[in-house]
Amino acid sequence: MSLKGKDIVSIRDLSKEEIELIHKKAEEMEPYAKGEKPCKLMEGKILGTLFFEPSTRTRLSFTSAMQRLGGNVMGFEGVNVTSVAKGESLTDTIKTVERYCDLIVIRHPMEGAARLAANVSTKPVINGGDGGNQHPTQTLLDLYTIKKMKGKIKGLNVTLLGDLKYARTMRSLATALAMFDANLTLVSPKGLEMSKDILGEIEKNFNIKPRQIYDIETGVKDADVIYICRIQKERFEDKFEAEKIQKAFRITPEVLKSCKEEVAILHPLPKVTEIDPRVDDMRCAKYFDQTFYGVPIRMAIIGLVSGVIK
């Protein structure tokens, strides 16, 4: 199996075996990701980072990953300083940038932008998030983190908590966890449940039926892993109601009393109020470790699609 030349646009494009290969290579990359060993696998190569909208973790971890591999990075964040501000199409931007670099990471507010870029580019394209659609490297690092924390994914009780309707992270993660035979519990406010399309796809492809719960205590009780994401106030017309819901779906030390002792809490970050700051120092808080795993995962992806890691 080789991922050389492959675009990483959607988690739907990856087989279980390909995901396992990326995880295996990420594990091998960890000492390099920590800077414990030097690495020159991507020496002389350039990664183009095209961030048409702001990002902290994704952009910086891709930059770190490429530099840890000994390569260089060029790119932009925001469109004000680029030809896009003059009305250039994405297609033309890609056709230009691919001539300056060896592979491309793109983040774009329009859904399907990474697929378009991949179709246009002769160089591998990695999706760093396309609107509300996909963010495959986040999903790959989320799965990897769970595997690192728990030693396996199969049979684990994973609770996805928060806005399951709009958060792209949750939708791709649910599909990927089902692929790896996790038991899924979905906890969300009414109206922000995971879409029927995703649930139908999970059931059809993996024969898994996640359970839907509307109160946090019940939803987290048996969890080995709780993956929480932000519920945005903008989703609700009534701001008072929004605040009430945000409070009701918040992880606090009190909520954690009803959880398993070894539960791991993950979050794609940035977090705002959905996790009580007192939780940050508790043993179960794994979200900052999770952000680190973004580096070896992205090193593995860069190396595999470039063909320098086999």
Binding site: S89, H108, G112, A113, R115, G131, G132, E201
Partner: protein, 150 residues
């Protein structure tokens, strides 16, 4: 075409037969038949059919179908038949079938889809289910029912 239908045979043009009863109007919409449409057009509704019970038939004079029109008709009238008429005779008869992918046929209903930006790209859908129709946009990856699309 049997005599009892009381609709004259057309000399040259297209007959779309075996349209599921009630969908004939949709086929006319797809072909842009509305006030001001220049060609002679007939829509026969609820015609008794041995095969499907009741069917609709559309006849349009001096009209040939383009591939994207056939693909679009397949969305609303799978299993319909498409007859090309020349000099009152059927010179070609084929089944209208929904292909596995539809390119440039319909617009993606998702306003945030990149295919709705000013990019030189056609919409592209994968047919995930044929009956009832479910299409997934191959760009934004959203799944749509027929009602969302036409």
């Amino acid at each position: 075409m049997s005599e009892e239908l009381k609709v004259k045979k057309i000399k040259d043009g297209t007959v779309i037969d075996h349209i599921k009863a009630g969908k004939g109007k949709k086929v006319l919409d797809i072909l842009g038949v509305e006030n001001g449409f220049p060609n002679v057009t007939a829509l026969l509704m609820n015609v008794p059919s041995k095969r499907v019970g009741k069917k609709d038939i559309v006849k349009i004079e001096n009209k040939t179908l383009k591939k994207d029109e056939v693909d679009k008709i397949a969305l609303v009238a799978p299993h319909a038949t498409w007859n090309v008429i020349k000099d009152f005779k059927v010179i070609n008869k084929s089944k209208i079938e929904l292909p596995d992918t539809l390119e440039g046929v319909i617009k993606c209903p998702n306003p945030k889809c990149v295919t709705n930006m000013n990019e030189p790209v056609n919409s592209k859908f994968k047919v995930e289910e044929k009956e009832p129709v479910k299409l997934r946009c191959m760009y934004c990856e959203r799944l749509f029912d027929l009602e969302d699309l036409i």
